[in-house]
């Protein structure tokens, strides 16, 4: 008699495209809160078709920074309960307390949801957006992508001004099994990008489960996509965008015609 209860966190093994504008499983955006004060953090979720996050706020909270807060807090966007804008307590108490220059890591532990994060510094005179991940990853922030599926990936800075070396090739291989030796996934590879968008590394290699960290010196939007799968064949499932993935669809007969008319 056998019994098991195991549900695989499928996006961990099926994700092929990672775009900093829509954070998903295996991606973490680290934002540094460089100034003291209060911040309003809004999390938006992309719709089920993978289209960019809309205006609806999925979660909203306040971060306070001063000399006494924590160095780092990681927030799981998938685990957070949905809080309507009108319901949140973000205007009263701070949800998180960081020290000045402290870091908040926004990550997604499970599910197929895609998220974007907007951080607004609530200054005394004016509000100032310091992060809008749907648009870019600002200089000083970090984007970490853990690459699990073996194959060859292409990492690109989509808003680079330079004409060459704005992309990097990353080969992800499976670790060689060694009896009694556990594969360590904790080692990360940091790739800096120059203000012009030039990638610090044009070619690099990782083992499955290890993390690639982008450290931009100017606003950047990163996209990492699987180019060749583990067999070396061109990957046809990546698509240009999560929104373009093939889906089952029911179309009510005659609806298209009536709309045309």
């Amino acid at each position: 008699m056998m019994k098991n209860r195991a549900t695989i966190n499928r996006p961990v093994v099926s994700s092929r495209v990672f775009d900093s504008s829509s954070l998903g499983v295996l991606m973490t955006l680290f934002h540094r809160f460089a100034e003291a004060g209060d911040y309003d953090v809004k999390v938006r979720r992309a719709d089920s078709a993978g289209k960019p996050a809309g205006e609806a706020i999925f979660r909203r909270f306040r971060v306070r920074t001063d000399a006494k807060g924590e160095d780092q807090v990681n927030v799981d966007l998938a685990a957070a309960p949905h809080i309507a804008d009108s319901e949140c307590a973000c205007h009263d108490e701070a949800s998180y307390h960081l020290r000045v220059d402290g870091v908040m890591g926004f990550y997604v532990s499970r599910g197929t949801g895609r998220f974007s994060v907007e951080v607004v510094h609530l200054g005394e005179k004016a509000k100032r957006t310091v992060l809008d991940s749907a648009k870019s990853v600002p200089a000083g922030d970090l984007l970490a992508v853990t690459l699990v599926r073996p194959g060859t990936y292409k990492a690109t800075n989509l808003i680079a001004t330079a004409k060459t070396r704005t992309s990097s090739t990353i080969a992800v291989g499976l670790p060689k099994p060694e009896y009694g030796v556990r594969h360590d996934t904790a080692k990360a590879l940091v790739v800096t990008t120059k203000p012009s968008g030039v990638m610090g590394e044009s070619r690099s290699a990782l083992q499955s489960g290890q993390t690639l960290v982008f450290a931009p010196e100017a606003d950047a939007r990163f996209r990492v996509s699987l180019e060749k799968d583990e067999s070396g064949e061109p990957d046809r499932k990546s698509g240009a965008n999560p929104a373009e993935r093939r889906r089952f669809r029911y179309q009510k007969p005659g609806l298209k015609e009536s709309r045309k008319s």
């Binding site: 098991n4 209860r5 195991a6 670790p175 594969h183 993390t211």
Partner: protein, 303 residues
Amino acid sequence: MTVAASEKVFETAFQLLRDNIDFQAADSTSSGNFVVGYDVQGHMEGGSIDLRDDNTVRIDELDWKWDRFILSLGIDIPEICVGGGCIPMPWPIPDICLPEICIFDGNPDVSIAPDLSALLAHELSVVGSLVPRFFDASAPLPVPDICAPLRIEDLPTNDQWRLHIDPQQIDLDIFDFSDIVADLFEDLLTSAISAIIPGGWVRDLILAIIGGIADLIRAILDIPDDIGEWLADLFNVSFGLGNLILQFIAEFIGACNPVFAIDDPFEVLAASDDLVPVTVPIRNLTVRVDDDEMVVQADIGAP
């Protein structure tokens, strides 16, 4: 009064006792990432009786057989995660630490419960002396009455002299799990774990992270050497199932179920027509054995 019973008669009486032995037990224990338990039922077969002139009875070659020997093991597979680690930052900025993303939602549990009854056997021997015990039907039963679940028959409503085999020594083979059992156990566990791991490259990755299923099993169960030894230690030491069986037998034949019983007063003439039965009281009952027979002596009649 002197009554003698041959070795053959004694053997027949013992067989009645032996055939009524029905041992059942279940227990479980947990440690760290696993829960292990057993649910067993056993009985005795065979055995040769030897009455000895040192006033003891030796019963050899008793086979202890299992009708059911279900060994259940549930293990909690540790989280299998990717990522993690910290990004070193220039001093004095603290390192930035990455979250771990886990391949399974929650900790998967795997359990197996094979029935090993056909693969386990023990041999038992008993050396005991015959002791007479007087049962006073009017006396209250001890509390707790340990014999209540072990009695073959209800207690009599009259007084009795009861002859018990008082065990002086019981030997039972220790639990020795053969390679076949150990292999079966490991194969089942490996299959159960394999069943929850997807195929292809995901399997290769998970196996690399956990260091192989065999290694994982040994790590979870904290098995230094082989599974057979671990199982033997589990039953011989941790569960102490062998001692449980010995205690059961000692109580079953030594305290709870006599091999012979003689009513007191003893009926020498049954009731007939209008006549009441003729009974005589029995006093000072003793029993001894020699190489050939069991001899019971008692005073009858009024003291």
